[in-house]
Assembly symmetry: C2
């Protein structure tokens, strides 16, 4: 890698982090799902995401929007707070804290207005400057424990 | 950041990835716990690791070795297989697959010789060229489901 290409790589990493930050804020935290057009590639692959109903699938942009819509429904005021981002060209790893109020029924659990919190870690892939997939883990056992404790 | 420091940063990232690869192989997969001296800083902080008994604690090198010893006991043939690493100076994010044979009793579960698998993601911190902490998520719900299925 030459000095020139290292400078380009550095710019690319900064752009990736900025895009991902705006995506998490706009689409997931604020629920502006149609804005996914600006962030998501035509083909988006969920390489690993245990417990996510779309685990292992490759989604069109429309299917991606449907996934966000369904996933946000139990916790419509949810927020992702980025803890840290680490980037290389084509990839960003992000650690995050998530929280939301449980106001929409979910498989096996009746909405009860409690605040639920979770941590997670995701590696996002980029293709032509847009998000084209992820490899993710989140603390779903912790969420079930919180939901069960009050149920 | 100058061109010079970018080159230095690139070397540092490569060294971090090499150290982490060797650490996972030597200490966690092969169980050479005393080799931790070469990889672990005098103070190691578990910033986030839901379900890990040492979550939130800062460990001495001896306490770190004790954690590896206790954690490996139920699955002594365990292996971590690195999927991907992403580095910046002072940090490496790593996605991994883990597997092991359940041959040592664990809280609530009797060892039955089954093969158990798990995925996870970790961000490791480096201080003076050694590992000084992590922020981690692993699919512990998936492990409990596998253990319960045969129980």
């Amino acid at each position: 890698m030459t000095y020139y290409s290292m400078g380009v790589a550095q710019d690319q990493c900064a752009q990736q982090k900025a895009l991902l930050t705006e995506f998490l804020e706009t689409v997931w935290s604020n629920g502006d799902i149609e804005a996914s057009d600006r962030f998501i590639a035509p083909s988006y692959t969920i390489h690993n995401d245990p417990g996510d109903p779309w685990h292992g699938q490759t989604l069109t942009l429309e299917a991606f929007k449907d996934r966000v819509h369904q996933s946000r429904a139990p916790f419509p005021d949810q927020r992702f707070d980025v803890q840290e981002m680490i980037a290389e060209p084509g990839k960003v790893a992000v650690s995050w804290r998530w929280g939301g109020t449980f106001t929409g029924d979910m498989a096996g659990f009746k909405a009860d207005g409690r605040k639920i919190a979770m941590t997670g870690l995701t590696i996002y892939s980029f293709t032509d400057g847009k998000l084209s997939g992820h490899w993710q883990l989140c603390d779903r056992l912790g969420v079930f424990q919180q939901l069960s404790a009050g149920g």
